[in-house]
């Protein structure tokens, strides 16, 4: 599955140790502005180095032309360029905008649940990854995702 990933989700996956699983199981692309926000601006920070490694080995693709647009707009443009299933973001205002435009999205936690549904990761890993995300996501998001996992177990 090909996805456009926004900066907040990429940083969260990197910080919580979920990124390697995500980028090895999905085709992740980021627009140029997201690359700047996650790698260039925080240069030298461990997370930035890890993301750069994924870009260097082709696990994350930087696509689209550099522009002066905000990251959300670049993510939208990249999605609209074709071939992508959805945009991944955890920013409520951006998700509202995607909703209004009928653009499909996943959040960080629902992306982990997707991998469980698709039998790409184990139940144990799913719970571990969502737990790792807990401090970076809203309580409502965390509980909804965990409830969904529990339903799946039943």
């Amino acid at each position: 599955m090909k996805v456009v990933m926004d900066s907040d989700v990429l940083i969260k996956f990197t910080k919580t140790g979920c990124k390697e699983a995500i980028v090895s199981l999905l085709e992740v692309s980021i627009p140029d502005r997201v690359y700047e926000e996650t790698v260039i601006e925080p240069k030298g920070c461990l997370d930035a180095i890890k993301i750069q490694e994924n870009i260097d080995n082709g696990m994350i693709l930087v696509q689209g032309l550099p522009s002066r647009d905000k990251g959300e707009l670049e993510a939208l443009k990249l999605y609209k360029s074709g071939g992508f299933e959805l945009i991944a973001s955890d920013d409520r205002k951006f998700l509202n905008s995607l909703d209004r435009n009928g653009i499909p999205y996943l959040t960080s936690s629902s992306m982990v649940v997707y991998l469980l549904y698709d039998n790409k990761i184990s139940l144990e890993d799913t719970i571990k990854y969502i737990d790792n995300l807990k401090m970076y996501i809203s309580q409502r998001q965390y509980l909804s995702a965990m409830l969904e996992v529990l339903k799946w177990v039943k």
Binding site: S7, E41, L106, Y117, S138
Partner: protein, 98 residues
């Protein structure tokens, strides 16, 4: 940049005194207090979904990563329950299709 004069109440004086004990001068202490207030206000706007992280970064004059760290500490995340449920439904649909 303009200047603003404010009358000081006792709680403001108390905080400034504490900050002075920690090595800040009065101007530095007042700037620190204002900055924390701005961060709290912006964090509330983000929490309510009125602004995005990038808009918060513009207001705070910080880069994305610095803003992400501040908002993560003050708010955590701001995704609504209905947005998460909608995303989970899509996750299920996509997995069934693959």
């Amino acid at each position: 940049m303009g200047e603003v004069m404010v009358s000081r109440n006792q709680s403001l004086n108390n905080v400034i005194d504490l900050m002075r004990k920690n090595g800040l001068d009065e101007e530095g202490a007042v700037k620190r207090i204002i900055n924390l207030g701005i961060q709290d206000y912006v964090a509330d706007l983000y929490k309510d979904g009125e602004i995005s992280i990038r808009e918060a970064a513009e207001i705070l004059q910080l880069n994305f990563r610095q803003t992400f760290e501040i908002l993560q500490k003050k708010v955590g995340g701001n995704v609504e329950e209905e947005q998460e449920i909608k995303a989970l439904k899509l996750a299920k649909k996509l997995a069934e299709r693959s």
